[in-house]
């Protein structure tokens, strides 16, 4: 059964395959060809399949496509504009936070959600928020550095914007 209501995926209106048994990750990967979200643990532990639904992170491997119906879904492909990387993506490259790359889409997605909810996170907040995303390659130190870079840049930019207003 196709989605009659209409869902937004990465800013575009589209139909997700519905039905009681279609997982969101399969709807995205097989139905829409969005291969960014990855299948690893299939138990909602590793975070490789993380997507945003209305700006909240979800494990798409344990979420039914139905749950996303009529809502706004964002995958890693939805960050950045017209070939430009998002600030988080840019920081991941700068900090060396990418090795095999299999966890990267989910991690980038989770970091966007983290900074959306906590614009000025301390280290403990970052560690708590990202504990649902496993990376076996990097040892996480570069991820932490990437998040702190984006946080500081966004705060500096906001400060500069405030200065202009004054």
């Amino acid at each position: 059964m196709d989605d009659p209501i209409g869902t937004t995926v990465n800013g575009e209106r589209c139909s997700l395959p519905g039905g009681a048994s279609v997982l969101l990750i399969d709807a995205l990967r097989e139905g829409l060809g969005l291969l960014g979200p990855k299948k690893s643990c299939e138990l909602s532990v590793c975070g490789s399949c993380t997507v945003l639904i209305d700006n909240e992170p979800y494990s798409s491997c344990m979420t039914l496509a139905q749950e996303a119906t009529g809502r706004e879904v964002t995958t890693v492909e939805g960050f950045g504009r017209r070939g430009e990387l998002s600030d988080v993506q840019q920081a991941f490259i700068e900090a060396g936070a990418i090795q095999c790359g299999f966890c990267t889409p989910g991690f980038v997605t989770a970091v966007h959600a983290l900074l959306d909810r906590h614009p000025n996170p301390d280290r403990a907040t970052i560690q708590r928020y990202l504990a649902g995303n496993i990376c076996r390659c990097t040892g996480y130190a570069p991820m932490l550095e990437a998040v702190e870079r984006v946080r500081d840049r966004r705060l500096a930019a906001a400060e500069a914007g405030l200065e202009q207003v004054r």
Binding site: L43, T75, I98, T104, Q127, C137, Y140
Partner: protein, 752 residues
């Protein structure tokens, strides 16, 4: 850490555009699922596939009856593993049949309907049972094994001097047993392979570290010419040893052959754990000291539980004998190392290839002995460490690093002085592993196109270790062009020259040198053509599509074409092949080491006496890199390996109950998360002495950072609270029991 740049794989990976095997598709592709044994050891008396075959969407079910024209056995040195069990199963999880269906879900559901009748045989759950008198033999004994002890897959012995006499005369003999359980790699991408039989032969896409070995294995098993097998390794979602040699490629090729359609097999994590593990290991060690507290003898007896099939077990046991004694001056030593067949998941390569397990023993023992004689563990090590230039074990290549200064640096970073807070301590360990994996030839094709852009083809695989970026830098530096002008294409047997595989930290050295030589040949060829064309003398460089020397600028293709008699429009640019042979003698049992991977690990821990929890406050990992080609990538390997070592030392353990793995999932098998990052961080130091055999004096460093972590932790725990732990992982419960002196559960009681 300084920043990585957005070239090579990074941009594709960060945007979700990078394609892995699990993202790959063949047109018209079907999906596979394996039927696995739920019996550890038994005879297959019947296999009923009728119900599965009748399911909607199911194309066929593959069984050993379909092996007409196929040699179903594979392995690294010993071809003892069948793609599907034939008559006899040897571990829980062993594939016994395979379903091909329209979707993965249909295949998985139909696989549950295949009825296997298996008559149980007595199972051998651990190496003691397997070596026991009268134990049923799972396979014939392998090389070096005593005939009268059953189930020895391989036994190797390495000795010098007279250990018996030296131990008998010793003033003090330290004797201890060290154990570590099997653990799992957990590369993020589970095993995934695709196969398609086409007019020009067999095409395979697979998350593999060794595409050429897989190609050659498939050609042999399916009796097709090598020229008709093409294997491609796209971006591989991590490997750490778990994706070497053939794994599921043979069975997928057989499924596709029977179905007459391309097939993809994507394993679950649980299935991947049931594919290959890191060997559980037991080391018994005797170390003798003379009256001046100098080590005069060491005897090591190492037993690796290698599981149901050989896989890489024989070489792991063999190398274990070389690595267990440690980088010390010990006149009399003897090391015996064996791999033993049991009815458990086959064990194979894992980052370090036996080194982590055997160093767990020898570097723990060094601290224990130092404490016994009342000497600082660092000073005690320093007195015995091999100096730069001394031969390892008395016969191998000279040590190519200053090991003592590496330890000093690690100690300085974590603060070796008496800790100020109670229950806090520091620990050190040093690891040395022969790198490069033995004699090998590496090659790379390099093309300079008419527009001046550069393309490199090599047979290594990109596992996340950064081969693509390192090789791009080597080519760019060699040619004097911007790195953004270089495209490195890896892991395709149809386009790349032969490569033995991406393992043993060998790519930067071997393939790196091949690329460097290709770039050097290209430069010479351009210079010769330039001078023949009457170009100006002086330093020649490639600038876009032009060759330039001083004020003289000419299109490269014009220069090359004028010498060839072809019109420039017909000229394809320049193509060269670089080859590099590691200078090692073949045929010797223990070949001379090409370079040593060296890591000094220091940790500072706090131990909670109430709970037994070990809190790692800071870790320092000092690695000999020779020459750093990619700074972010180099530190990334070091920090990532150290963190993996924290996992395999503190929480990770595959637990068997009656031969069945009971925690083959990420909920019960805990790998480190970002929450486990030490508050003081992981300090990575890459020492550059330019003594490596790779480009600019580089060494491989992929394995170094993990090998010394476990003993450094146990040494720190003793420093903090005075208890000694000799079994991994260092669970809070084990620490608590040691602190409270209650009897711990023995390994047998832990459900092996």
């Amino acid at each position: 850490m300084t920043g990585g740049e957005a070239f090579g794989d990074l941009r594709a990976k960060v945007t979700g555009a990078a394609v892995f095997a699990s993202d790959s598709r063949f047109p018209g592709m079907l999906h596979g699922a394996l039927v696995r044994s739920d019996v550890a050891h038994g005879l297959i008396v019947a296999l009923d596939t009728a119900e599965a075959e009748a399911m909607p969407g199911v194309t066929c079910v593959l069984t050993p009856d379909d092996f007409d024209g196929i040699d179903p056995f594979y392995g690294e040195l010993v071809l003892d593993q069948p793609m599907l069990a034939i008559d006899r199963v040897r571990y829980v999880g062993e594939p016994i049949a395979a379903v091909v269906a329209r979707t993965r879900r249909e295949a998985v559901e139909a696989a549950r309907l295949v009825q296997a009748t298996i008559e149980p045989l007595p199972p051998l759950f651990n190496s003691d049972e397997a070596m026991g008198a009268g134990a049923e033999r799972l396979h014939p004994n392998g090389a070096g094994a005593p005939a009268d002890v059953p189930n020895i897959c391989r036994e190797s012995r390495l000795a010098q001097g007279d250990v018996d006499a030296a131990l008998a005369a010793a003033a003090y003999v330290h004797h201890a047993v060290y154990e570590c359980p099997p653990v799992y790699h957990y590369a993020m991408e589970p095993h995934c392979s695709l196969a398609s039989w086409e007019a020009d032969g067999l095409h395979v896409i697979s998350g593999t570290q060794q595409p050429f070995r897989v190609r050659d294995t498939l050609a042999r098993m399916f009796a097709v010419p090598t020229s008709r097998v093409r294997v491609r390794a796209p971006y591989v979602g991590g490997a750490f040893g778990s994706k070497g040699e053939a794994k599921y490629e043979p069975v997928v090729a057989a499924m596709a052959r029977k179905a007459g359609r391309p097939v993809q097999l994507l394993c679950s994590v649980e299935e991947s754990v049931h594919t290959v593990t890191r060997h559980g290991c037991r080391v018994e060690m005797w170390t003798g000291l003379d009256s001046s507290n100098t080590i005069v003898a060491r005897r090591s007896d190492v037993t690796f539980d290698t599981g149901a099939y050989s896989d890489k077990g024989p070489r792991i046991a063999h190398r274990g004998a070389h690595r267990v004694t440690g980088p010390y001056r010990i006149a009399n030593y003897e090391a015996t190392s064996r791999a033993v067949f049991t009815n458990t998941v086959p064990a194979g390569a894992f980052r370090g290839f036996s080194t982590s397990q055997v160093l767990w023993a020898s570097e723990s023992a060094m601290d224990e002995i130092a404490r016994h004689v009342g000497e600082d563990p660092l000073e005690f090590r320093r007195r015995h460490l091999l100096r730069e230039g001394e031969p390892y074990l008395g016969f191998d290549a000279p040590v190519d690093a200053d090991l003592g200064s590496d330890l000093d640096e690690a100690a300085r970073l974590v603060g070796s002085a008496t800790p100020s807070s109670p229950d806090t301590g520091t620990g050190l360990a040093i690891g040395v592993k022969d790198g490069g994996g033995g004699a090998a030839r590496a090659a790379a094709h390099l093309r300079i196109h008419p527009d001046g852009s550069v393309e490199v083809h090599a047979g290594a695989a990109e596992l996340g270790q950064g081969a693509q970026r390192v090789l791009a830098r080597v080519a760019a530096e060699g040619l004097g062009v911007e790195v953004s002008r270089v495209e490195v294409r890896l892991g395709d047997t149809a386009t790349a020259p032969f490569d033995r595989g991406t393992n043993a930290s060998r790519t930067t050295v071997g393939v790196g040198m091949a690329v460097a030589k290709a770039a050097a040949s290209a430069r010479v060829a351009l210079k010769v053509a330039w001078l023949a064309d009457g170009g100006a003398k002086g330093s020649l460089r490639l600038d876009g599509a032009d060759l330039v020397a001083g004020e003289d600028r000419r299109p490269m293709v014009d220069v090359l074409a004028r010498g060839s008699g072809l019109p420039a429009r017909e000229f394809p640019g320049l193509a060269v092949t670089g080859t590099h042979t590691d200078t090692q003698e073949e045929g010797s049992d223990f070949f001379p080491t090409l370079f040593y991977e060296v890591c000094a690990t220091g940790v500072r821990v706090h131990v909670d006496r109430e709970t037994g929890e070990i809190r790692v406050e800071h870790l320092a990992s000092v690695v000999e890199a020779g020459h750093v080609l990619d700074e972010a990538g180099g530190h990334g390997q070091n920090v990532g390996a150290a963190m993996m070592g924290l996992g395999t030392s503190l929480t990770e353990e595959l637990v068997y109950s009656q031969g069945e793995l009971i925690n083959a999932n990420l909920i019960e098998y805990r790998v480190p998360t970002i929450a486990e990052l030490p508050p003081g961080g992981i300090t990575s130091v890459l020492v550059e002495n330019a003594e490596g055999p790779g480009p600019g004096g580089a060494k491989g460093i992929g394995e170094a950072g993990i090998i010394a972590v476990a003993p450094a932790l146990a040494n720190a725990v003793e420093d903090a609270v005075g208890v000694r732990l000799r079994r991994l992982p260092l669970h809070p419960e084990a620490v608590w029991r040691a602190l409270n002196q209650t009897a711990g559960s023995s390994p047998d009681e832990r459900g092996r």
